[in-house]
Structure formats: structure tokens, C-alpha cells
Symmetry: C2
Subunit: 366 residues, 2 copies
Amino acid sequence: MTGRAPQTLQINLGDRSYPIVIGAGLLDDADVVTGHVTARDVLVVTNETVGPLYAARLLAGLAGKRVRTLELPDGEQYKTLAVLERVFDALIEARLNRDACVVALGGGVVGDMAGFAAACYQRGVDFVQVPTTLLAQVDSAVGGKTGVNHPGGKNLIGAFHQPRAVLSDLGTLRTLPPRELRAGLAEVIKYGLVDAADFLAWIEANVEPLLALDMDALAYAVRRSCEIKARIVAADEREHGQRALLNLGHTFGHAIETAAGYGEWLHGEAVALGMLLAADLSQRLGYIGTTDVARVRELLRRAELPTTAPAIGAALALDLMGMDKKVLQGRIRLVLLRQLGAGIVTGDYPAEALQATLRSHFEVAA
Amino acid sequence: MTGRAPQTLQINLGDRSYPIVIGAGLLDDADVVTGHVTARDVLVVTNETVGPLYAARLLAGLAGKRVRTLELPDGEQYKTLAVLERVFDALIEARLNRDACVVALGGGVVGDMAGFAAACYQRGVDFVQVPTTLLAQVDSAVGGKTGVNHPGGKNLIGAFHQPRAVLSDLGTLRTLPPRELRAGLAEVIKYGLVDAADFLAWIEANVEPLLALDMDALAYAVRRSCEIKARIVAADEREHGQRALLNLGHTFGHAIETAAGYGEWLHGEAVALGMLLAADLSQRLGYIGTTDVARVRELLRRAELPTTAPAIGAALALDLMGMDKKVLQGRIRLVLLRQLGAGIVTGDYPAEALQATLRSHFEVAA
């Protein structure tokens, strides 16, 4: 599929609108790269895993510009203020000014940190996302959320800062570890569950081609995912309302990630399990049936995603959920499923139902 | 003047509009305080100097809310990412959520850091400025610029984040060290030089009452300064154009502060000298006359502000200016004076003229 023309989607956010370009082999297309990275001074932020694989190819397309490259350590556990400081150091050492552009080449961690550095450096410079993981291509690179973790919780420190462009080269997924591909697939499943029953059915029919890196299937999955996210973000950039739908599974998932220690569970894995818990609670509230919950569980199983929680206990899980950003006035608002393909954001549920869901998943079996 | 009713100015920035309340004794007016700090959960960020003087009075007005107080060390040298992390730690320890409000009680350093923490915490929570220095009341608390320094330059890491309100209690200026009062006066003079010849003349006629803490004179100076800043910020919130006028003296001043080490020169002192250098360069370009430069020097002298630069050499000064945020495409754009009371932002001047200004001020006399 490498020869196929890339597709372009537009995110509509007024003067912060930007394109998402999706295709196999984009990295080697200098016209695409320089068409979107227009600054003369560029800092490419990548990591020690992705850099050796793709930085040289990206840099070839940036020939003629002043380009520096910074390699960060690889892993969610490095998404910290301390590591962020290295990005600032690199920007300042290179004496980059307000016209510079930061390019994030890597997965969600690289994109979140490079984007947050771009948001803060000189109170905001341009940045371009070149996501190389499925999770970043369908989710974290799109929508402008940037930030770092704190020992007290994920993504607690950050900014909304929209990229100038997102360049998603599907070819980079060929070197992605299968576990990370599956974690990205969790977010694809999320879009189906929360917004599009037809897309959910398409995913159910295409799990195996997606896991086998069929480029046609991936192109469709990435495009549909970005379309859904783009529409929701355009309507609610700063998450005052429906953007919270995109957090399906995330409140439960954050608790799992925090309890396990960053880096133990992949974000997408925690979200997958979190979606199953959201389905469980939705069923306890009578929104969906037990067969719907089973359908979610079966899809996750086929996608080789976790369906069993760590035995951290319901009390700790609840405590860790309480620190989440989506808490309003002490109430835990959650994304639940009114049906498969239609999410709702609500704090209107009995605490007992939530407790029952947590107990049924987080307690050690007797 | 304590009994006089406070004055309120409005900053017009669409859905980010906010009031500036100016008056002596505001801190003790619980109606004013709770009228603007409406959140239930509050983190008051102050420093070890201001906290013991005023925190208890502010907290009395916040009775009934859940309030934590964090005291930072006092001084520009602590305006760093490392100290900022303490603010994040306090927010997270207190488990504050998106509805919380950060209140900055102190001068420019406290306001910049508390504001930046509020900008980043959970990607943005409310904050209220309670400035207790003249510089903060007329400048840094107004306009939404927040951030921290980096060893490579001042304010290189930050965000635009507007406060919900600015509460300027003129009574707090009674405990301000005279040197800091004078530093604040430098920014008041800046507004006159850059935007308002009539205000400049008023300042010339009122330097002594201002230095003697005459509350009527201070109220007028703070109000006029905020009016000028509010108008310019409303027209250009993110400094794409005329907001840069407010940086008169700052590019030169940043070089002085960086060379001397943070904390050696007060910001306002460096700006004062920077304004004199800007006047010098404006005269070399034929915009203003030597009598105008002498008039600026005389006003600074009467305000007991520095008029002599440290002998760091013209080369280092230029180098340090080159790292400034106001650099565009390698050109050093400067704020100059077309006449006293009318600034311009320009990169259109011969490099030789800038060099001559730097040599005449930064070289050791033979």
C-alpha cells in the first residue's frame, strides 16, 4: 500500500485548525514533511527506540533547515517534569526562538512531552506531531492535550496546545511491538464503543487484519478514529462537555496505571480493562445487557487485551480514581455506555453500583 | 485613604475578561475577597516574607472554604521549575481538582509561579492575583503572562493564563522595601514613556508623593498604569503586535539581569536602565533629542533608579540580548521611542547604532 496517496483530514478549531495526514511512507515524502514543517529552526524530539529507526529518514526530508535532534529515554515512567527539563535545555542550548518548530517523532509519551515543551517554551511555539504508534496516531497526537505525569497521578501537569499538523506514517507501525499495537487498538475500540456502532461492528470483523498490519485496514481504522475524535474535539476543545466521552475507560484505567506504577501497564491496556469496567457498571445501571458486556469482553480478548484487573482492592482503586482530573466537586463523573456505540458522561449513579463494579474486579478471589 | 471605596477596572478579553480592584484595605474586605475567590477549594501561594504579614488577613476573608497555604522562598532566584514543582506537589497533596482556585499573594515572582502552576495543573484551573508589590500591581499581575526562569534566560518557560480577578490592596505597599517600591515605579514610568505623555508629566510632578506612599498618588498611578496595560493587552493578548510595546527596556534589562545573576538586580531596576538605553538608541536614530534622553535620565535619578550599567562589555550584552523571546528570525526587535509618550517596536535600525549604545553603557571606562 506504500504507493497509495495519503489521505488528509482537517481538524476545525478556528485559527488553530490543522490537517492530519495519514498514509504509508509519509516520512520519506519530503514534500509532505516540508509542507507542514515550515520553520527554519527545528527541534526533533524522539526517543532512544524510535530515533535510530526513523530520525534519519525524517531529517532527510528537512534538509536545508537548522535541525537538532533530542533523544529521550523510552517509557511512560520518563514522562516527568525532570525529563521535560531536558527538552527546555535543548531548546535553549540551540537558542531557538519563537519562530522555531518542535517536531515530536514517536509515541504518546514523546508527543505529550514535546507538545507540552512547545506549549511552554517562550509561552508557545509551533509543533508538529509525527506519531509512530497506533495509540498516538488514533488518539494522543490528535486534539492538543499535552503534559507530563506526577507521582500523584497521570497527566496532572499539562496544557492544551494544538499541533500545526499531524503526519501519521502507517509504515512505522511495522516496527511497533505487537503489545503496543494491541494497546493502540484499545483506543480504536473506544471510538466504536462510545460513538459509532457501525465502526464497532467493522472492528469486530477486522480484528485479525488489524493485528496482522493490513495497511488498508489500518488506514480505515486510523481515519475513522481521527474523524470521530476531530468532530468531538472541534465541538469541545477544552473538555467542558462532550469531549469527556473520549475518556471512556480512562478513569478506571488511570487508577490501574497509578497502582501498578507507570510503565507496568501500557496506557491502552489499562484503558481496555477500564472500558470493560465501564461496561460492567453500565450493565449494573440497566443501560446495557449482560450480552453487551460479554461482547465487549470478547472483542478485547480477540484483540489480546487484558480483561482481568490487578488485585489492588476496591478501596485503593476508588481512592486512586478520586484523584483523577475528571472529578468535579468531589463527585466522580464517569463515561458510561447507554448502548454499545453511544457513551454518556454522568455522575448520576449510586455509589453502591460503582463499589460493586470495583469489588467484582479489583478484589482477590476468595 | 483606607476608607475610600475601591475602584474597579475591567480587562476585556471575551470569556477571559476579569476585573482589577484597586484600593487600600481590600485584604480585610471579606466581601471583596469572597466575591472574587468563589471556589470552595483554595491554595494560597505566597512567600516567606509576605505570608507572615498578610496571609492570616486574607485567610480570615476566606473563612468557610477549604484553604491551604504554601510559602515559597522569597526572590527571583527561586523562580525555577524546581520550585514550581512544590506548587504542583501542594495542589496534588491537597487533592485539589479542576474547580479549585489558586490565589497568588505576593509580588511578581509569586504571581508568575502561582499563575503558571494554575495554567498547567490539570491543564488549567482558576487563579486570582493578590499583588503586594507596586511592580506586580501595575504590571506582572495584569495581562496573563506567567512562567519561570531558566539558567539560559528569564521567563523562557511559561504560559498565557488570565486570572479571574486582580485584587490590589495599596495598603500592602506600606511594608514594601523602598528599593522595591522604586523598582515598581520604573514600570509606571514605562507606561508614561511608551503610551501617554500626559501621564509621564504627571509622574514627573508626583515622584516624591509616590515615593512617600501617598495613597491618592498611588491609586492614580496604579489605575492609569493598569488602564494602559489593559487596553494594550485587550488588543493583542498573545503579543503578536503592539503588546510588545510593554517590553520597553526589557530586552536590554533581561541581558543585565542574566549577566548579573538573578536576584542581584531587581527586575524594575534593570528595566529602568534598559529604558535609558532604549532612549539612547532612539536618540542615535534621530527619533528623540538629547534633551529628551536627559529628561528620562533625570526622572530615573529622582526615582532613585539606576542609570549606570554593569561593565559586562558590549559583546556579552548583545549575546544575552540575542537569547531574548523578542527575537524574530535572528533579528533583535526592540521597543524604541519615537517621542516621549510614544513607543514603537522595530527591528529596522543599523546594527552599528545598537553597538554604539551598548558600548557607551556596558564598557568599562578607560
